[in-house]
C-alpha cells in the first residue's frame, strides 16, 4: 500500500478507535440509566427510588395471580427475591404466569409496588403449541428421571 493511503487508513483507524473508547466510557458512566428496569432483588435491597416511579422487571410467579375485576395482584420474582405488584387496568396479551413482565410503579411498602403500567416481556422462543406441550412434558419427565437417578 502506498504511504499516503496507509496514513489515511491509520487516521481513520485512530478516529474510530478513539470514538469507540469514548462511547464505551460514556456508556459505562450511564450504565445504570441504560437499564430499563430494576430486578426485584434491587428493590428489596432499597436501590429503587422511593419518591418517584420506577420500573421493575421479573417473572410472574406461577399460581400467584389474583384477579378482582380489573384489579390484579401478583408476585414478581427474579428467583432470588419476590415482591408483590398491584395493578388496575388492562394487561397485555403476553401476560402469563411464569412469563417476564416489566411494571412501572411506586413503592407502597418494602416489598410492594403499586403499578400504573404493566408491559409483557417476550422470551426469545418461537414454537407452535404442540411443540411447547411436548417440551414441557419432556422437561417434567427429565426432572423426574433425574430425581429417580439421584435416589
Amino acid at each position: 500500500m502506498n504511504p499516503i493511503r496507509k496514513k489515511r487508513l491509520y487516521l481513520i483507524g485512530l478516529m474510530l478507535g478513539g470514538l469507540g473508547l469514548a462511547t464505551f466510557l460514556a456508556l459505562k458512566a450511564f450504565d445504570d440509566n441504560l437499564m430499563f428496569f430494576f430486578p426485584p432483588s434491587d428493590v428489596v435491597a432499597g436501590k429503587a427510588p422511593k419518591d418517584h416511579p420506577f420500573r421493575v422487571g421479573g417473572l410472574v410467579k406461577v399460581g400467584s395471580v389474583e384477579r378482582d375485576g380489573t384489579h390484579v395482584e401478583f408476585d414478581l420474582t427474579d428467583n432470588a427475591e419476590t415482591i408483590r405488584v398491584a395493578y388496575d387496568g388492562i394487561l397485555p396479551d403476553l401476560f402469563r404466569e411464569g412469563q417476564g413482565i416489566v411494571a412501572t410503579g411506586t413503592l407502597a411498602g418494602p416489598r410492594r409496588v403499586v403499578a400504573s403500567e404493566v408491559l409483557a416481556k417476550h422470551d426469545e422462543n418461537y414454537m407452535p403449541p404442540d411443540v411447547a406441550k411436548t417440551l414441557k412434558t419432556a422437561h417434567a419427565e427429565g426432572i423426574k428421571g433425574m430425581r429417580e437417578a439421584a435416589r
Binding site: I12, T23, K121
Partner: protein, 249 residues
C-alpha cells in the same frame, strides 16, 4: 487473479453501469420470487405461536428488516472507507446509494416492531436500549441523506458522508448487544445466539427466505440507484452521451 481484475474493472463507471444493468433484472426477479414464497409460507403454512398467536407473523418482516438496517449500514460505511482511503469513486457512489434504502428498511423495522409491541408488550414504544439505538440508526441514515443533499460538490459531499457513516459504525455493536449488555424490554436474539436457535424449523424457514429476499432486493435497488448516481455525476461525459443516444435509437 480473477477477483482482483473484476473489482478493478468494476471501478470503471462505464463497465459498472453495463454489468449492473445486466444483474438488476435477475436480482429483482429472484428477490420477488423468494418474497412471495417466504410470505405465503409465513402467513399460511407456518404454525401459530404458542404464546403470541398469529401476531408473531409480523416477525417475518420485522426481523429481516432489522437485519437489513444494520447490514446496509455496514455496506455504506465500508464503501465510504474505500472512497476515503483508496479514493475509489465507486465507493462514493455505492455509499450514497445505500442511505435511502437503509433508512426505509430501518423505518420498516421500527414500525413493524411497534405494531407487534402494542398487542404483545402492551405499548407502541419504550425507550429501552434496543429501540433507542435503532432509532439513532434511523437518524444516522437521515443525517447522511441530508448532508449529501446539502453539499453542492458531489465529491466533497461523498467524503463528508463517508466520515459520518464511519462515525456511526459505533452504533452497530450497540444495537446488536444492547439486549445483552443492559436489561431491555426487547427480547434477546433468537437466531444469532450460540447453539440451537430457539425457533422451530417451520417458523425459521420463512424467516430466512424473507431475509434472503430482502437482501437480494437491496442489491438490486442499490445498483439501480448507483447507476442513476453515475449518470448524474458523469452527465457531461462522452460515455454517458454515447450510451444514452445509442439507447434512444
Amino acid at each position: 487473479m480473477g477477483i482482483k481484475r473484476f473489482f478493478h474493472q468494476m471501478g470503471s463507471p462505464q463497465y459498472f453501469y453495463r454489468v449492473a444493468g445486466l444483474w438488476i433484472p435477475w436480482l429483482l426477479g429472484a428477490s420477488l420470487l423468494l418474497l412471495v414464497i417466504g410470505w405465503v409460507d409465513g402467513l399460511v403454512y407456518a404454525p401459530t405461536d404458542y404464546q403470541q398467536g398469529d401476531s408473531y407473523r409480523i416477525m417475518f418482516i420485522h426481523v429481516p428488516a432489522a437485519w437489513m438496517s444494520m447490514f446496509i449500514y455496514m455496506v455504506m460505511a465500508f464503501s465510504g472507507l474505500l472512497s476515503l482511503v483508496w479514493r475509489v469513486k465507486m465507493g462514493e457512489v455505492i455509499a450514497v446509494s445505500c442511505a435511502p434504502i437503509g433508512a426505509s428498511f430501518t423505518l420498516l423495522a421500527l414500525a413493524t416492531g411497534s405494531l407487534w409491541g402494542k398487542p404483545m408488550w402492551g405499548t407502541w414504544w419504550v425507550w429501552d436500549a434496543r429501540l433507542t439505538s435503532e432509532l439513532i440508526l434511523f437518524f444516522l441514515y437521515l443525517g447522511v441523506i441530508a448532508l449529501y443533499g446539502a453539499i453542492e460538490d458531489r465529491r466533497v459531499g461523498a467524503r463528508a458522508v463517508a466520515i459520518l457513516a464511519l462515525v456511526g459504525v459505533v452504533n452497530i455493536p450497540i444495537i446488536h448487544y444492547s439486549v445483552e449488555w443492559w436489561n431491555t424490554l426487547h427480547q434477546p436474539a433468537t437466531i444469532t445466539k450460540l447453539g440451537k436457535p430457539s425457533i422451530v424449523p417451520s417458523m425459521l424457514i420463512p424467516l430466512l427466505i424473507g431475509a434472503l429476499a430482502f437482501k437480494l432486493f437491496f442489491f438490486a435497488t442499490v445498483l439501480m440507484r448507483a447507476r442513476n448516481e453515475l449518470l448524474e455525476r458523469d452527465r457531461n461525459t462522452r460515455w454517458v452521451k454515447n450510451l444514452l443516444e445509442a439507447e434512444a435509437k
